[in-house]
């Protein structure tokens, strides 16, 4: 859903304008800017990026000065906001949504002296890096939990919009869960939005009514976790720790953790060693984290999940290591083979064990 508001935007513009008027001094702090697609109060995607910004402030103190603009629509508006950030003296700018790709690229070409970092995109420039998180690695860890804990063998999955990132999550989870319990079936419901608490809860209820006793979500609000708690089944938090919304239901959460990356990049910018890079970090780089496992989970199950986590970190296991079959039962990844990053980036099919047809 497109946000109608940019409530903080005019205030920001004023603030930026005011600071731009100050004369530059040699010992000036590095100005780091962040552009968010949602409100920082979404308790999900934008919230986690803002936690990263706060970590940067904490790590560098008065060596940096950070600012942000939230709820910036993807498209032409973004270009204006990014340009405004440049003009007010920001030297390192993080644009944190896929739809900012073209605007960021355009502004990056206009200002070769400014460093840009674009999240989840694939276009780079000499002064524009990309970065994203291998969220699906966390799904494999959760798959181990679900494989052991499901009694009905039915897992519900509240899905947002059919893009490769969401397919990767569904598939990585399904593969891992079925290696433990081959009877597991995963049913996705696509709600067509990233954020609509009421509809997310409705989808969760529909899945539970169909017999699901474990609930996953790839949408941004804690509503599915809350619904799972109300109905007494297990759930997994998305993007940030959602334990508070259903302490009994919350098995763990797959958390985006941008702090180390942001600190790293700001450090490089301060040192003058910043270069355009392409980062796709996962559990091993700390960009994806598992939050605390529920105390009610059996110890051996948690140990197995942790073993999976460590194997992925060590590189001895991969969520898409063969043999993997597609829905038709054909082997698409042979034993011992692993899907390449290129295959993962374009993933738009279901593995065996997922119910329903691929939307579209």
């Amino acid at each position: 859903m497109t946000k109608l508001t940019r409530r903080s935007f005019s205030a920001m513009t004023l603030a930026l304008g005011a600071s731009a008027a100050l004369p530059a001094r040699a010992a000036d702090p590095l100005k780091v800017g962040f552009i968010y697609v949602g409100p920082i109060g979404d308790h999900g995607w934008s919230y986690q990026h803002d936690q990263g910004r706060l970590a940067v402030e904490k790590a560098f103190g008065d060596k940096v000065e950070t600012s942000y603009v939230e709820s910036v629509p993807e498209g032409a508006d973004a270009e204006r906001v990014i340009t405004q950030m440049v003009r007010s003296g920001h030297k390192l700018i993080f644009t944190t949504s896929f739809g900012y790709m073209n605007p960021t690229l355009k502004v990056a070409k206009m200002f070769p002296d400014v460093m840009f970092e674009h999240a989840t995109g694939f276009m780079r420039e000499k002064n524009m890096s990309t970065y994203a998180a291998r969220f699906y690695e966390g799904r494999a860890v959760v798959g181990v939990l679900a494989g052991h804990m499901s009694k009905t063998n039915k897992v519900g999955y509240v899905a947002s919009v059919p893009i490769p990132e969401v397919f990767r999550g569904i598939n990585a989870f399904t593969v891992a869960a079925r290696r433990i319990n081959p009877a597991i079936e995963v049913t996705p419901i696509w709600i067509g939005e990233w954020y609509n608490p009421g509809k997310e809860a409705d989808a969760a209820k529909a899945l539970i009514d169909q017999g699901a006793d474990i609930l996953l979500q790839h949408t941004d609000s804690p509503a599915p976790v809350q619904t799972a708690a109300e109905r007494g089944i297990w759930a997994v938090g998305q993007a940030s720790d959602m334990e508070r919304f259903g302490p009994e239901a919350h098995m763990t959460a797959i958390v985006d953790h941008w702090d180390p990356y942001y600190i790293n990049r700001v450090q490089a910018a301060l040192d003058g060693t910043w270069e355009s890079t392409d980062t796709w970090g996962g559990l091993s780089t700390g960009m994806v984290n598992m939050s605390a496992f529920n105390k009610a989970l059996p110890e051996n199950v948690v140990a197995e999940a942790k073993a999976m986590e460590e194997a992925i970190i060590a590189g001895t296991s991969h969520p898409f290591m063969g043999p993997i079959k597609n829905q038709a039962g054909e082997v698409v990844v042979a034993e011992g083979a692993t899907l390449s990053d290129g295959d993962l980036l374009g993933m738009n099919w279901y593995v065996e064990g997922v119910n329903g047809k691929v939307p579209g």
């Binding site: 859903m1 946000k3 109608l4 508001t5 409530r7 949602g38 409100p39 109060g41 979404d42 308790h43 919230y47 519900g156 059919p162 049913t187 996705p188 419901i189 696509w190 709600i191 067509g192 939005e193 954020y195 609509n196 608490p197 009421g198 509809k199 997310e200 809860a201 409705d202 989808a203 209820k205 529909a206 899945l207 539970i208 009514d209 169909q210 609000s221 804690p222 509503a223 809350q226 619904t227 109300e230 508070r244 919304f245 119910n355 329903g356 047809k357 939307p359 579209g360």
Partner: protein, 307 residues
């Protein structure tokens, strides 16, 4: 049969916020005023109800506070359009934008705060009846309130003298004014009632439906409520039907997706509640004469008592 109860309960929950907001807006529009600020008033109600709920732990008080907030926002609207004769469409849109921003500001410290859901009614014996028990005797208070208030609105508009006066103000404010009715005051009361109802709809979302506060959590329900009033051709019975139809279809399409019986693209299924509700309401209300009869003739027009 056992599995039917939770489905019906979900439908009722999905319909309730729409029912509150649409019934309120129906009264507003019947008085000749068009308030497009429903979404904003719902958000205002949602955030204030949530804050009061967290701080006091009292669900009744929280819902009342949500209604009061909706009313306060409606009062701002009334000052603009009734007092200062501002354009109703523009003012209503501004109220929605204002409500989104204000609710986000007020709710800043409450994002990520959990709240126990409103207690559900429990009548020993009755609630335990399979299927029907939880549906009729196992809901929270706001659900019953939405039904009672809908009945009250229908009765008020078509069976009471005050309702007749309100409708006459919506049809021809000059004539109503000429025979001595205080048009502005009547419209003010209607607008305040609409605000309180939108606030209650929002309160239901943040207290019962998904007991939490998240920015813009109404996700367009205010606009759906507005559309329901128009497509129901300003008839309370059809507004009720439309709200439940929309809630039911939303749930039905989610169930259809998860059962995977027929393979229809999920994008299409996600669209069906909107499409089907409009089609059904348009078809059952296609009598042009009745539409003219029910539509408030002076809706959206600024009234200035002259002479």
């Amino acid at each position: 049969m056992e599995s039917l109860a939770p489905i019906v309960l979900s439908v009722i929950a999905a319909a309730t916020p729409l029912l509150f907001a649409a019934m309120g807006e129906l009264v507003v529009e019947k008085s000749g005023v068009l308030n497009l600020g429903v979404e904003g008033m719902m958000l205002g109600g949602a955030v204030v109800a949530f804050i009061v709920g967290v701080e006091t732990g009292n669900g009744m008080l929280a819902a009342a506070a949500g209604a009061a907030m909706g009313m306060a926002l409606a009062f701002l609207f009334a000052i603009m359009v009734l007092g200062l004769l501002a354009n109703q469409v523009a003012t209503g849109l501004a109220l929605t934008l204002f409500g989104i921003g204000l609710s986000a500001l007020l709710g800043r410290g409450y994002v990520g705060t959990p709240l126990p859901a409103l207690p559900k009614l429990y009548v020993p014996g009755l609630t335990d009846i399979p299927v029907l028990g939880p549906i009729f005797f196992g809901q929270d208070g706001l659900v019953y309130l939405s039904i009672v208030l809908s009945g009250a609105v229908a009765w008020f508009l078509y069976r009471s003298r005050a309702g007749l006066i309100l409708r006459s103000v919506g049809e021809n404010p000059s004539a109503a004014h000429a025979i001595g009715y205080p048009v502005i005051r009547i419209r003010l009361l209607a607008v305040l009632f609409g605000g309180a109802m939108a606030g209650l709809g929002g309160a239901f979302l943040s207290l019962s439906y998904t007991p939490m506060w998240a920015e813009a959590m109404t996700a367009g329900r205010g606009w759906i409520a507005l559309a329901l009033v128009v497509f129901a051709t300003w008839q309370p019975g059809k507004v009720l039907l439309g709200a439940y139809l929309f809630g039911g279809l939303t749930l039905a399409q989610l169930h259809l997706q998860s059962m995977g019986i027929i393979h229809i693209p999920s994008q299409f299924l996600n669209m069906t509640p909107y499409l089907a509700t409009i089609v059904v309401l348009v078809v059952i209300s296609r009598d042009a004469a009745r539409i003219r009869l029910n539509a408030p003739a002076s809706i959206g027009k600024v009234f200035h008592p002259d002479g």
